[in-house]
Amino acid sequence: MEENDYKLVKRCLKGDEKAFEEIVTLYKRKVYNIAYKFTRNKEDSSDITQEVFIKAYNSLDKYNPEYKFSTWILKITTNYCLDLKKKKSVDTTPLTDWNETNASTLSAENNYIYKENKNIIIQLINNLPKKYRILIIMYHQQNLSYKEMSDCLNLPLTKVKNRLYRARGMLKDNLESIRKEEF
């Protein structure tokens, strides 16, 4: 897979545009989902995905094959997301956007609680500061390793770990305070 990626990059650098289209097809899902989970807005995510690939194309000759190509493209994506100036409007109908494989097996009442909890959690993740939010998305939603996150964010492993622990703690604290408000 990684070797194939590098072959595609080399083909692009020789002027084969089809190879870049293949790269976009391979990685658009990953890039788009990080962007969507970060912004919670489909239109913005589509724009971000395009910008990320254009940026990647323009600096393709600077790609260092020592790193995995997926790490490189995610690095561009996370940098782009973290650089976004202000938070734009968020989609107001997130429920239908998520496929609910688990929810369908639950009873109607549990299903309601599950959906409610899910919405609250999504919202709370979205309210975390950017540098914490991105780690929750990368680790728990995109299944990246500590090493990959450290490469993407240019941070030492220990810092990534501490920051993710802190992010989980913040999320937990916020959930607890919401629960206290409810009772």
């Binding site: 002027g15 870049f20 289209e21 395009q50 690939f53 323009n58 959690i121 728990h140 989980r168």
Partner: protein
């Protein structure tokens, strides 16, 4: 085990990086500490939900939009243009150095090879101008010159090599011409 240690183990559990021994310790602590148990349940449930959230389908036309906005010639043109800059710069140096050396030669042996040198210079100038006119238009040439200057460090060794090679060949020619001249006299 204190609650701080338990909290670290909960994090390791969420990392799926917990050893069996550590997990047993944690379970024992959770049995007796309701606060940590609550923390564990809350975090565990939360991240189960977070990890269950499936990916969203990206729009189908992303490839089309990206391909429409990139400069497709970016990597094609580059190598082709660089080659032309190199050829032109090499020939310019070649013709200049040839001109000066033949001038010197013509002055030192008047009348002998002036016709030959004039013919030689004329053909080199014609050749270079033919390349310039046929491969690059004026604006390209200007851009090319700017690029040439900016890439001077890269081109310099090549130009020097051409210059040296040229010098050696000409020295050989001079020696030969002098020899003929001496024999004639």
């Amino acid at each position: 085990m204190d609650c701080n240690k338990a909290s670290m183990l909960i994090m390791k559990y969420l990392d799926k990086d917990i050893t069996e021994k550590e997990q047993n310790k944690l379970t024992k602590h959770l049995e007796v500490c309701s606060e940590c148990r609550e923390e564990f349940n809350l975090l565990n449930d939360t991240f189960e939900i977070v990890e269950d959230l499936e990916d969203v389908e990206p729009p189908k036309d992303i490839e089309k939009k990206v391909m429409a906005s990139i400069d497709k010639g970016k990597y094609k043109k580059k190598s082709y243009k660089n080659l032309i800059y190199l050829i032109v710069s090499a020939f310019s140096v070649l013709s200049l150095s040839t001109y000066f050396i033949f001038r010197k030669l013509t002055l030192s042996i008047p009348g002998l090879i002036s016709d030959f040198s004039n013919f030689f210079i004329e053909s080199i100038v014609k050749f270079v101008s033919f390349i310039v006119v046929n491969t690059i238009n004026t604006s390209d040439l200007l851009v090319g010159l700017v690029k040439l200057i900016s890439k001077f460090t890269l081109i310099l060794p090549i130009v020097l090599l051409v210059f040296l090679f040229n010098l050696v060949i000409l020295e050989l020619c001079i020696v030969k011409i002098y020899n003929i001249n001496i024999r004639r006299n």
